[in-house]
Point group: C2
Amino acid sequence: MKRLLPICRGLRALSQPQAGRRAGVVGSQCGFCGTASGTKPQPGFGLLFDIDGVLVRGRMPIPAAKKAFQKLVNSQGQFVVPVVFVTNAGNCLRQTKADQLAHILGVPISQDQVIMSHSPLRMFKKYHERCVLVSGQGPVLDIAKHLGFEKVVSIDMLRESFPLLDMVDHNRRPKLPSITVGNLPKVEAVILFGEPVRWETNLQLIMDVLLTNGNLTGAHQIQTQPHLPLLACNMDLLWMAEAQSPRFGHGTFLVCLENIYKKITGQEMKYEALMGKPSEMTYHFAEYLIRSQAEERQWKLPITSLYAIGDNLMTDIYGANLYNRYLEKRASGKNLKAVTKMMAATGSTGSAATVPQEEVEMTDGAWESELASPSATSCCSVLVCTGVYKPSGEVPSSAKRCVRETTVFHGHRDFSFDPVLVEPGHIVHDVADAVELIFQKEKFVPQ
Amino acid sequence: MKRLLPICRGLRALSQPQAGRRAGVVGSQCGFCGTASGTKPQPGFGLLFDIDGVLVRGRMPIPAAKKAFQKLVNSQGQFVVPVVFVTNAGNCLRQTKADQLAHILGVPISQDQVIMSHSPLRMFKKYHERCVLVSGQGPVLDIAKHLGFEKVVSIDMLRESFPLLDMVDHNRRPKLPSITVGNLPKVEAVILFGEPVRWETNLQLIMDVLLTNGNLTGAHQIQTQPHLPLLACNMDLLWMAEAQSPRFGHGTFLVCLENIYKKITGQEMKYEALMGKPSEMTYHFAEYLIRSQAEERQWKLPITSLYAIGDNLMTDIYGANLYNRYLEKRASGKNLKAVTKMMAATGSTGSAATVPQEEVEMTDGAWESELASPSATSCCSVLVCTGVYKPSGEVPSSAKRCVRETTVFHGHRDFSFDPVLVEPGHIVHDVADAVELIFQKEKFVPQ
């Protein structure tokens, strides 16, 4: 049983002048909800697709994904609407992810359509010259270097230089009496790209770095506060692979690290920045890439509506709604103070990241000077039921019911649970239904 | 700088009749504190040694350990006082640990002198016929079978039967589309022996077992309560190896598991039993083994005083003081109700385990019917500074100061922080000083 539910909240708060910008919509009452009778020859909207649980489960494509993408690409293999893939995965390069997607979906995909959870690190220029410890799996050293980091140390490099630290696995303890080599530079910041392997090793060495202030030749100094800057990408607690029930994501690793830190020191571990959905910076990038695609194709309509399709209430839906709230505030002229703090965090004149436990609001001309002002005025969240979110019976009859079913907050510690932000704009069965719904709403008929 | 501090609290609460049982002490005012002038020809006391941080650090012997043990063994290689080794390690068999110790200390040691954190599981007979999942490293299947468990499943066996569950390590994911084999019996209880390797794998599969009620072919049922029985051995958060600062112990793994469970379900994970120091059952076993040694040697004095030498305030000191409190209450005739609950937990008529968040008090004739009544009337804690506990300067001038320095509670979630229980009876530099102090106190001159 499927339902397409027009619970669209995207433009509710838009003031008249912003609504007036949607001039490309023919005869529209509400361009966002598509209640008009006209159709558009070119897209005035862009699509943000989550990957796991929406397009694939593990390595297996979700059948509806191919169907959806057949509608999105013309006979020359070109996309008929701007499309980006916004994933919290962070253990590979963008090109690798683009190639995987092209193979799975059977359409050509460029790396410029891919946003990984670590992409905003490019903006954190003040750390690029510092010595950073990176945690994750896959080519983390390459990823860090591509992002601009010049002095990068891996967990394995620390293990080799300090062989007495990683003691949990009896078989990996040094066989001979070992001495510390200690030829590495002092670590000045820690970057958590994604879930590593051998969590005990990473948890132990990250704790050692934090408690020694980056100087592993010294002993723990629990009273040392504040600890070294810690930047984390991807807060997903769980994600949907082939198994029936969700699997651990990087957010689960962060739960371990935060709680070990608290148990040992009695204090809260603090993040300098948290990146990836649901943080707004990810959506700023997505909007920028979508706008760029439209410009490259010389489509005339401004891209005013975004649709973010995902399976996870706490990342995809929360993030899209948080960005929609930003766009609404921006449109209504509420421009603000937090930009100063965010600029300080990134060390640049034009970047932004999620600052934990604070609502992020920015002035034009700050980070926007790098990405240019968004043309989007709304971002509508669309929940699919092929991934982490499982309705207890059929697809719920209302977004509120869907939220009520989710009794436990699976979002990150530093994001408050705001029931409005986890309420999806639409709930559909799968990604094919999502695309169908959006085309209907937008009265869009690809040429 | 060393100090030997007579902060002995062992017999304070002893009533006269119990003190009267210490008839073997010649001319003693207080046999426990040894203020008398006489000396004893045979021991009326026994010693409990922690291992890591007291006798060894990692694989390296602590120099004072050999010196101490030279005093404890006569020219025939026999111990001159009853000695047991009480370790929270749980990843090997008792015989293996005895052999390691004999090699390190240069004295013969029998497996009957070794108490591992899992030893009390022998008493949990109601689980011996059930299918149990075991987590840990080393020969966990063998250990479980030696303890009496008949149907044992390991994490690796689950991984093989359910290849889609363990997805964190990209390189260990199934290469080909996999199907669940599912030929294992339903898991009915989970036993956590000690820290495993690849924590992500164990954390994920234990969570899967708890959330599917042991039936891994099914989906997660977060509302299912109560979860399957969970029994954990060894709560040590940290332990001291060769590195300057303490390393993660099994308690750190438990912190991860407890907090992941809470984050995903919104509820507290509950333990059916927590074993190893500081739980009392461990000390009951130790007392029983010490008594048995004295009987075997046909020493005439009853063993009335125990001394527990350790480096960890939250396990060795807390545990010894907790047991001392039990012995004091027992001696003063306060015999109580909790035994019923403890007997129910173990499913036997004569065993006991630590029941979380409750003070454990027992009647004679319950678990004591298996181990027989203790002859000990006190258990005095002795803290050494060669392991986890590090005085900020010299050895502290008072036990209270030592406790004040420990501002963060490193004990397990289910044990309350009672400042009195982490206050050591004595603080000394190392284990050689500890033995010297105890011989002085007991006026003991080995024959």
